[in-house]
Amino acid sequence: MLGLDADSEVLSALRKELNLEAPAILRFGHWIADLASGDFGRSITYRKPVTQVIVESLPPTLSITIVGSALTLVLSLFLGILAFKRHNRWFDYALTLGSQLGIVIPSFWMGILLLFVFTLKLEWFPFGQYAPLRTGFFSWLRTIFLPSLSVSLVAISMMMRMVRSSLLENAREDFVRTAKSKGVPERKIVYKHILKNALGPIVTLFGLQISSILAGTIVIENVFSIPGIGRLLLLAVQRRDLPVVQGVVLWIATMTVLINIVTDFVHMLLDPRVSL
């Protein structure tokens, strides 16, 4: 941190400041105890509490995660239902092929390509900025739309395939035939009968996709130079600011667990056959 030829006095001062003189096990004990009271320690480079540093870079990351998840939900349901309705026609094949590509294309490469086309060539979107929501909805959306789209591409593709295949599976069930023979309109069969029954696995997968979008922001924020948690994490690793690294890692892991719990809960609410 100070370089190899640092003064021994400066060195010992820093050691004292960082409390490196106590034995490792004692320091670990302190860290756990502080953690339990919500204290992540102090950042070495920012000279501020880690919690404050994390909270300050939270808005862009949360925005990307939320917009990305919303895009995933809307687009995958829309495209998945469309592919189901046009099953075995060219539109269905094109979407299947497209989703296969969406899964194998790395999100950061997609980000670079989108950046090249829409930011550098067409100049539709700004680069390396984040405008908070209070500056207006559209200026906020413009700064995070491309990152959200590229980070959720894999999720959209996977969800779309899932929606399509579980709709197809449910369409073969007996209750669909019954509804048809009763004369229930086609629209109502699709949305009320088939979709509602297919929702369980879709919700579960969506929960997993939210966590993977959250993890994906780590890389994508660095593609677009957006000052969020991911950028913070990478800078902290490069500057060896371990308290921040620990804080961010724990924060994302906690969020992942929380998202999973909420997903299970929603699944249970939607489907009375499932219990926790």
Binding site: I103, F108, I112, L120, V219, N222, L234, A236, V237, R240
Partner: protein, 291 residues
Amino acid sequence: MKKSEKKRTEAFDSSEELRRTFRKIRRHHGFIVGFLLLFSLCLLTATSLLFTPHDPYKMNPKASFQPPSWNHPFGTDDFGRDTFSRCMVGSQTALLVGLVSTSISLGFGLLLGLLAGLSSKWVDEIIMRLMDGLYAFPAILFAIALISVLGSNVKNATIAIGIARIPIFAREVRNSVRQVRIKNFAVAARAMGVSYPRQILFYYLPSILAPLTVLTSSSFAYTILSESGLSYLGLGSQPPFPSWGRLLMESQRFLTRAPWLSVFPGIMIAWAVLAFTLLGDGLRDIADPKI
């Protein structure tokens, strides 16, 4: 001992089953495409070990930023190095990382999964809850955490990705073992006093093999993707050794001047990932007796 071996050879002799499998493979276009993609990638990698069209490390400032041409199919970078040769060498990194880190997750996952599946409820609970804890960390996050402590190089990235994927293998193995354990032939084997290694080898492994092969193939895809992500962040392979993710990171600075530098390494990643994904999906369909 003779009996079990005889039974196994009989199963293999029944050429009807083998023929059916081959018919399935022939009809599965995705599998064939995946196989051809992987085969061509391996061919490219093997060639790069012996020969590349240009020296991937030799700098030539006069020839910097050349667009794609016959001489340089993928163009040249800021130091005038041939991107095609660098992508070829990068495929070594990708395949090696895929192989090593998948072996780590497969090896430990198999061990822990067997242990959890065959032991008492308590051991099972402890192992699986530990796995759940590890699974809560997204792989890339776990890798970054480990690299921040151990230092960034390709070895640590490989190990970290491998460890992060152990729970997925362990869970698959454990669940398969639990399913097999209550089947009559497994109960009979226990009653006859067949030794544990023999039980694992002849009773459990054959039924785990199919899901494990599928998982291994998709794991390769995931690992190559993760490694390129880490290398893109500068936490994986270090210069001058090329890896696809690293090439993308280095080329992003010249996005307006030399966009082709950002295109081809990405295509290489997508190629490798597509190969393993198609292969994995194909294997799953072929192994599924219902299809």
